[in-house]
Symmetry: C2
Subunit: 121 residues, 2 copies
DNA sequence: CTGCTAAATACTTATATAGTTGTTTAGCGC
DNA sequence: GCGCTAAACAACTATATAAGTATTTAGCAG
């Protein structure tokens, strides 16, 4: 509720954005802007899981699963743990929960507005 | 802090996600996952502005500005108002503020972790 | 009507990336 | 060593989209 919420975390309006700043923020959004990766994140909300498990639950094939998981790790959202023949992934950055939650609520609100007062479809 | 924050806004873990649900969430993230659009959003955090003003302030050319603004409108994030020869855009969905704020804080936290205690690069 | 300006659109090129398939690497048991 | 499995990687295709340029549309003033 402070007024810096109207800007980018703590930066005043008149501040020039640091070089590459928007690019890094965009990178975060971008990695979540893909249904496949979002699906993996959703699966991992139940806790740490192996790649094989994620393949089963997500419906993605093995190669896609692996690559998307890497993207999420690179973005700092997931953590990776190797145990013998298996590799386990988990959500590292708790902001993921809040980000998804925020978007969902916003979409629900918009949906309600569009539908007037009531109407599931 | 409720436990549905660990999922997608109000959905229980065992719930099957509605068809197209992840796609719509991803769409939201995707539209913010572009530095140019993020820059426009940042400009608009000061308030409603015309396309021309946004062209000046963002450094994007006129065509790109116009097209990116359209994407943001379609996603429901911006509102559009036409007045005579000018078109004014404004932020419609307040969740944008919180989303950007969240990502920024998360990036800052990560940056601090990576740097140990101190070290700009 | 003729200019003039603001914004949107059309068209092109270039790039990025998701998906598929097949192969390779790494770790286990024997 | 061999066989088996899990995960990562490579190579390719297809698609999406950002950027640039040029054009068109819309509204104003005269």
């Amino acid at each position: 509720m402070s007024d810096n919420i109207k800007n980018f975390a703590g930066l005043e309006k008149q501040d020039v954005l640091p070089a590459g700043f928007l690019e890094r923020v965009a990178e975060r959004f971008k990695v979540l802007g893909e249904p496949a990766r979002l699906r993996l994140v959703h699966c991992l909300m139940e806790g740490e899981k192996s790649v094989g498990t994620l393949v089963e639950e997500s419906g993605l094939n093995q190669a896609n699963t692996s690559r998307h998981l890497q993207g999420l790790v690179q973005a700092g959202l997931l953590g990776r743990r190797k145990d013998g023949n298996f590799v386990y992934y988990r959500i590292l950055d708790p902001s993921v929960f809040e980000l998804c939650d925020l978007v969902c609520r916003s979409l629900q609100a918009r949906h309600r507005e569009e539908a007037g007062v009531l109407r599931p479809e």
